[in-house]
Each structure stands twice: as structure tokens, then as C-alpha cells.
């Protein structure tokens, strides 16, 4: 008996690991019709882990002080060995993570996986999308460049449209009348301490909901793959005769993660400044607003909506109503059909909504 098998037996006799492996890996059955879109959740877990690890590494050299932040980022990029790699993985990774979140959401939308009994997965997932956008927004300020400073000024300014307390809210978020050193302290704390913990907790809840309801089967024209759940008592969606998670679907997950990682490294090595503008390389100057300051691509639609409407409060209300509608979609769209081509109204709304989002983003970019 080798040392490893002795060690395995020792742990096995105490924790029953093989039972856990059987239950969660080899005995965890998934629908035979499952497709690669289902691996986006694992890709996002990997992306989040990569953001956490690269973020912790950046914390070693980053100085959250308005006088030193830009310089510390320059040192990371130019002087610390492989600092550029860590920082670019973090910055590019945040953009790719948001893009993957959108893809994950669209796949869930078109396969109707948000429908009962998976309403909680949808709500927690949509909240996660917003939290990830929030963590990206707060991280945007930290390099303390002209872009960071003025994009944050514009973003925090829109909070002022809230009636009655708007002005106070802006000041509260900024820690002062204008964006300045107190804003950096606040955004730093939210970015590295509060939001990562909240996101990790919500990911845990999201996975818990998934495990409790069971994974949904992809719908087809002839087989709606509707749940057998009729409401009332708790029910777990089993997939008798399905494929085991390990090794079958695990390999799909690994393939998708490899593709994601290849895309990330592709941008980092071949187009490292894809998500940076020239203003990202100039230290923040509170007395000089650069021309054409724009938010990140995933906020361009929101930015353009605020510009279209004559009143900021109407723009915010429209966005709030849209977000609420998407968040509560499973409670609005309650039909049993899941195959997209058998849901014409849904298809028109979903495709139209995505097209509108893309059009507004392009308009925002070009305006």
C-alpha cells in the first residue's frame, strides 16, 4: 500500500470523502441534452477567482492614497516584475467577466431557465450582474487617472437626480462635494472589502439554489423539458439516465474555461490597451476635465439614456423601471413554454431589448 493510498484511507475513514465525490461529482447527473452554454457559470466562477487572486496581488503594491495611487499603479506596470501582467489580467478580466455575465444571462433567457421553480436563481444572478458592475465601477477610480477621476465624477453625479435627497446622496457617496481623496478611500473599501464578500456570499446562494432545484434541461421544439414541479411541495429535478458531472461535463467546463482564459490572455498580450483610453495614462487633475469622457462599455447604454431624456430623473426612472422588469421577469413571464421559437412575444422583446442595448451603447460611444 503506497503512502498516498494510506493517507487517502486515513482521511476517508474520518470524512467519507468518496461518498461526497459520488454524490457531488460522479453521481451528480445532468441532462443528456446539456450544451456548452451551461458551462458559463463555471467560467464565471473561474473569472471571479482570477479577479480575487489578481486583486490580492495588486494590493501588495497599490497605495490607496490620492497622492500616491497613480504612481503606485505606474510602478506596478513598469517596475515590478510581471506587474503589468497581473494588472492587465485584473483590468481586462473585469471587462470579460461582465461580458460573460451578459452571455450567461442571455443563455438563461433564451432557454427559459429562469422560469419556475428557478425564480430565485434568476433574481440572485441578476443581482450578481449588478454587483459585478458595481465592483467594476468602484475599481475604475482606484488608478486615480484622469479617466478614473472624471468617469467617477459623471457616474456619481447622476445620483443627484434622485428627488429631495439627491444632493446629499452625491455628497455621501463621494465623501465630499467633489470627487477627491475621501472618494478614493470609500471606493477602495467598497471595492476590496465589501463587494467581494457580498458577491462571494451571493454566488454561494446562487449555487445553493441550483443544487436544491436541480439543473434545468435545455428545451427543444418537441420536448419542452418542463419541470414536473407543480407547485406546493419541494421537488428536485432529477435527470435519471443523465451524464455524470465528472468527468463528462467537467471536461465541457474545462474547455469553456480554457477558451475564456485564451481570450483573456489574447487581449492582454496582443491588445493590452483595448479597454484603456489615453486619459488612463494621465494622473487625475481636479481642475482639468478631459474632452469626451465616457464610462466603460457596459455603462454606455445607461449613459446614453441619461443624455436622451431632457430630465435626468426621467432617465433614471426609465432605467430603474427596465431593471426592475428584468429582475422580476420570472414573475411576469409565467408561461410553461421554454423553447424560444414557441415564445414569439418573448423573442421580440428579448431580441429587441438586446438590439436596443447594443444600439444605445454604440450611440453612447459615438456621441
Amino acid at each position: 500500500m503506497t503512502l498516498i493510498s494510506k493517507l487517502y484511507d486515513w482521511v476517508e475513514s474520518r470524512l467519507g470523502i468518496s461518498e461526497v465525490i459520488q454524490k457531488e461529482m460522479t453521481g451528480y447527473l445532468l441532462p443528456r441534452t446539456i450544451n456548452k452554454w451551461y458551462s458559463l457559470g463555471s467560467v464565471l466562477l473561474f473569472a471571479f477567482a482570477l479577479q480575487v487572486i489578481s486583486g490580492i496581488l495588486l494590493l501588495i503594491y497599490y497605495v490607496p492614497d490620492a497622492d500616491k495611487a497613480f504612481k503606485s499603479v505606474s510602478v506596478i506596470m513598469n517596475e515590478i516584475p510581471f506587474g503589468w501582467l497581473i494588472r492587465l489580467c485584473h483590468a481586462v478580466g473585469s471587462n470579460l467577466m461582465v461580458a460573460t455575465l451578459f452571455l450567461h444571462m442571455f443563455s438563461v433567457l433564451f432557454m427559459g431557465s429562469y422560469k419556475k421553480p428557478r425564480e430565485l436563481q434568476w433574481v440572485s444572478g441578476f443581482t450578481l450582474l449588478n454587483l459585478v458592475m458595481g465592483i467594476s465601477l468602484t475599481g475604475y477610480l482606484l488608478p486615480w487617472s484622469q479617466l478614473s477621476f472624471w468617469a467617477t465624477t459623471v457616474a456619481t453625479n447622476s445620483v443627484g437626480a434622485v428627488p429631495v435627497i439627491g444632493e446629499y446622496l452625491v455628497e455621501f457617496v463621494r465623501g465630499g462635494k467633489l470627487v477627491g481623496p475621501p472618494t478614493l478611500g470609500r471606493f477602495f473599501a467598497v471595492h476590496v472589502a465589501i463587494l467581494p464578500v457580498v458577491i462571494a456570499g451571493l454566488i454561494g446562494a446562487h449555487l445553493f439554489f441550483l443544487k436544491r432545484t436541480g439543473i434545468s434541461a435545455p428545451p427543444t421544439r418537441n420536448n419542452q423539458a418542463a419541470t414536473t414541479w407543480q407547485g406546493g411541495a419541494y421537488h428536485y429535478d432529477k435527470h435519471e439516465g443523465g451524464i455524470p458531472f465528472f468527468p463528462n461535463f467537467f471536461l465541457h467546463d474545462m474547455t469553456s474555461i480554457s477558451i475564456y482564459f485564451a481570450c483573456l490572455l489574447g487581449v492582454v498580450f496582443f491588445s493590452p490597451y483595448l479597454f484603456f483610453t489615453p486619459d488612463s495614462f494621465v494622473p487625475a487633475n481636479a481642475f482639468q476635465t478631459p474632452a469626451h469622457i465616457k464610462p466603460e462599455w457596459y455603462f454606455l447604454a445607461n449613459y446614453q439614456i441619461l443624455k436622451i431624456f431632457p430630465s435626468e430623473i426621467i432617465g433614471l426612472t426609465v432605467q430603474g423601471a427596465g431593471m426592475t422588469f428584468i429582475a422580476l421577469l420570472p414573475f411576469v413571464d409565467r408561461g410553461d413554454k421554454r423553447y424560444p421559437l414557441q415564445r414569439p412575444l418573448f423573442m421580440v422583446c428579448a431580441v429587441g431589448g438586446i438590439a436596443l442595448f447594443i444600439a444605445l451603447s454604440i450611440w453612447g460611444h459615438l456621441s
Partner: protein, 139 residues
């Protein structure tokens, strides 16, 4: 090749890829975390002689560590490492006693760095010093 042979071959390939990947990840991370080298460790430090009080000592950074120059009773200048040889605390100058005391465990050193009392196992490291034209040069 039998099924066992194929399995072994595949496992070896996967293991090899895993090792190469781990190396490719570990190398940049370890390089990133490795302590940064000083700008120029071979450089000497120059201090104007007027900055050294007649009965006092002056502490400064030398090759990334704390060092001290002190004027002895005969007027000559000594340069020493200020790092206590016991557990690495920084020694303090006691002008009245004319000796160095380590605040951590009471080690005592003379102006030549010799151990006068306490737990330090060996004297303070002596540094090369020259005085010329009103400038003290260490190193």
C-alpha cells in the same frame, strides 16, 4: 497499447500539461512577489561632518539597513551597523553613558561596537568610514 497503457499515457500527458501550466503561473507570481533589489547597494553614503553632534550619533540607511556614525571621545568617527546582533532590533545611542543600548533586551555596545553586557552574541558590524574635507563617507 492496452487500455491501461492508454490511461497511463493520457494521465502522464495531463500531468505534464498541469506541471507546465503551474510553472507558467508560478514564475510570474513568484517574480512579482520577490523582494525588490535596492537601487545601488554598492554606493557609499556621504554625510557632512557638521551634522554629527560632538557627543552624539547619527543614524542613517546604509544598503537597506539601519547604520550609525558616532564620534568617540578621542574625536575620531566610527561607523557601525545599528542592527543588534541579538534579535535584530535597532540600538539607541545613550549620550550620557557613551554607549549603545538595545531597547529590546538590554544589550549594551561600546562606540567600537563591542558587547559590554546583555545577551548579544557578537559585536556590531563595523563599517568602513573616512573623513575628508568636512565630509564623512561610509562604505
Amino acid at each position: 497499447m492496452g487500455q491501461e497503457g492508454r490511461r497511463l499515457f493520457l494521465m502522464t500527458c495531463i500531468g505534464g500539461v498541469a506541471v507546465v501550466t503551474a510553472g507558467a503561473v508560478a514564475y510570474p507570481v513568484i517574480s512579482y512577489l520577490a523582494p525588490r533589489k535596492g537601487k545601488d547597494n554598492s554606493a557609499s553614503v556621504s554625510i557632512p561632518e557638521k551634522d554629527l553632534p560632538p557627543d552624539g550619533a547619527k543614524f542613517f540607511q546604509y544598503h537597506g539597513k539601519a547604520a550609525v556614525i558616532v564620534r568617540k571621545k578621542d574625536g575620531s568617527v566610527t561607523a557601525l551597523s545599528a542592527v543588534c546582533t541579538h534579535l535584530g532590533c535597532i540600538v539607541q545611542w545613550e549620550a550620557q553613558k557613551g554607549q549603545f543600548i538595545c531597547p529590546c533586551h538590554g544589550g549594551q555596545f561600546s562606540t567600537d561596537g563591542k558587547v559590554l553586557g546583555g545577551p548579544p552574541p557578537k559585536p556590531l558590524e563595523l563599517l568602513k568610514v573616512t573623513v575628508a574635507n568636512g565630509v564623512i563617507t561610509i562604505g
